[in-house]
């Protein structure tokens, strides 16, 4: 069988009349999806898109994003998945790395200057007639280890790095994950995360391969909006961040009688949210998942039957991947001992795209160093314990304390600055800026207004704390213990 990820994903759809893809504007049945992909591949081919070519694909275009992904994969071209309001520095980096010649973007998308000369691909023809899978001009001959596209990391430690996803890694990861997540035909899964995230792409593939319906929105949602969509669209399953899970825990099985399945990823799911979900939805299956773009989607899953006993754990690796927890000397850690998490296996990461420096720091004889810290329990379940660098998760998204520190220092308002993460009951963790010297009268609001043009919203500090001085060791590192003592004495 062909190893083209588009062929694999499309092969699992159920009856021709079953809805396989939907959003708030449209519902697409299997035959219609085949017709749209067939027509889109022809549009791309007529525009000159070729095998192996990188094509910029903007999200925030509803279902067009997913049709484009399937069609470019099907053709053997390589989608570069980006947000539509991409930062100019990131856009320049993308352009230099992938040298795209064409872009699939929405009518109102603001195109960064560096992409201004790219050929704009035509809009999807939504009136394309239905087709069968055999009518689609899929490239069946490609090597499964060929790059199927680029996903960019969150760029918390500098410019985002390009993660090349192969047809093999995408398909094996999705198949391995599908065996764990027990979605089934008739299920309707909703996501509400940006489509360019690997988590969204994994949900999309796993849902298609489970014969279920995928519903996606990139709209901002409050709890009432999220619960309203789940209820009005008769969703049986939801995949999102712990923050989404918290929102759903505010409603109950009377309001959402069809919701039977929930998957949380991005960060650990707090026990109080699990307890509330189990109280309000007595028969709900809660899956906890740990994943990353470098591994083509998911890494570990915790099945519902291990809750609440293993609450806080991210479970076990999916089939095809293995993990090790190692100490600073590279030796395997004992049970309960925190160390660096390494990944290996048949479709593990083989390197960032054209970034030897980054590859040298994460790839070695022990496999791929994920940058996450963790430990095993006595039963072999993995627990995460933060990052080995200054990165932490805020509401499931990576935030770099170093980036925030640099941005505050660049304002010249203070003599010294350090940003550290602090536990937060709602967000998991939040950045706190400790400052000394400089302008005494600067308020948190003023600082945030200065930072807004420099940082994404989730990097804005939650607290601003003025200290007489930031204690540092002889080597210049912040003496966290002294800082803590200083704060206690305030």
């Amino acid at each position: 069988m062909s190893q083209n990820i588009a062929r694999i994903a499309l092969s699992y759809a159920t009856t021709p009349q079953a809805i396989v893809l939907s959003d708030e504007d449209r519902e697409i049945r299997r035959g219609e999806l085949f017709g749209l992909v067939k027509s889109r591949i022809e549009q791309f081919a007529n525009a000159g898109v070729g095998h192996g070519e990188f094509v910029v694909v903007n999200c925030n275009r509803g279902l067009a994003f997913w049709i484009d992904l399937l069609s470019l994969w099907g053709l053997g071209a390589r989608p570069v998945c980006l947000e539509s309001d991409i930062d100019p520095a990131h856009a320049k980096n993308v352009a230099e790395l992938s040298e795209p010649r064409r872009i699939a973007a929405g009518e109102g998308d603001k195109i960064p200057d560096v992409f201004a000369d790219l050929e704009r691909l035509p809009e999807i023809d939504w009136t394309a007639p239905e087709a069968t899978i055999n009518d689609i001009g899929l490239n069946e001959a490609l090597d499964p280890h060929e790059v199927a596209g680029l996903i960019f990391t969150s760029g918390t430690t500098g410019l985002p790095k390009g993660v090349p996803l192969t047809h093999w890694a995408l398909s094996q990861n999705a198949l391995g994950t599908a065996t764990r997540l027990s979605l089934r035909p008739g299920d309707r899964l909703m996501i509400a995360t940006p489509f360019r995230f690997i988590s969204s792409i994994s949900h999309f593939l796993v849902t298609l391969m489970s014969g279920a319906e995928f519903f996606g929105t990139e709209r901002k949602l409050m709890a009432a909006d999220l619960v309203g969509l789940l209820r009005d669209r008769n969703m049986t399953a939801f995949g999102g961040s712990p923050f989404h899970a918290r929102m759903i825990s505010m409603a109950d099985a009377q309001q959402l009688p069809r919701l039977r399945w929930l998957m949380s990823s991005g960060d650990h799911l707090p026990k109080e949210v699990i307890d509330e979900l189990q109280k309000n939805y007595p028969s709900i299956a809660i899956h906890t998942v740990y994943g990353m773009a470098e591994l083509g989607g998911r890494f570990c899953t915790l099945a519902p039957e291990f809750l609440p006993e293993k609450a806080g754990s991210v479970g076990l690796p999916i089939p095809g991947l293995n993990l090790e927890v190692r100490d600073e000397d590279g030796k395997s850690c004992k049970t309960g001992e925190i160390g660096s998490i390494f990944a290996g296996g048949s479709f593990s990461f083989s390197g960032y795209y054209k970034n030897e420096e980054a590859n040298r720091s994460v790839l070695g004889e022990n496999g791929f160093r994920t940058g996450d810290m963790g430990y095993w329990d006595k039963d072999g379940f993995l627990y995460l314990a933060g990052r080995s660098d200054s990165v932490f998760k805020r509401s499931g998204l990576k935030v770099s304390a170093l980036t925030i520190t640099d941005a505050i220092l660049s304002l010249g308002l203070f003599e010294d600055v350090i940003v550290l993460s602090k536990e937060d009951p709602i967000e998991g963790a939040a950045p706190v800026a400790y400052v000394s010297g400089g302008h005494e009268s600067v308020t948190k609001g003023q600082l945030l207004r200065e930072l807004r043009p420099l940082l994404p919203g989730n990097h804005l500090p939650k607290e601003l704390i003025r200290v007489p001085e930031i204690p540092r060791t002889g080597s210049g590192k912040v003496d966290r213990r002294k800082l803590k003592d200083m704060l206690k004495a305030r």
Binding site: D85, R219, K220, L221, M222, A223, A224, D225, V227, G228, F243, M247, M250, A251, Q255, S395, I426, E427, T443, K444, G445, Q446, L447, L448, R449, E450, L451, R452, G457, N458, L460
Partner: protein, 86 residues
Amino acid sequence: MQKGIEMDREQLIDKIRSHLADEFGLEPDLAPSQAIFSSNLLDSLNSVQILMYLESELAIKISPLDVSLEDFDSLDKIASTIERLS
């Protein structure tokens, strides 16, 4: 005057505006009709923080399940939502 809230609409908007400026770094002269969520100034998580603030400062209880993002998308809309629910 709001039921149970000892201030008129203008004072209420001023109070929320000042909170958004102090806590989230929005402009201190934010226009009452300026979109704050659909324009990406704030995200869904911030809406929960605003609800918590309203609950603690104005002693009003608004369930997150009673308000949509549309109800909270500007100072005017937040004030109207408070009027409707308090």
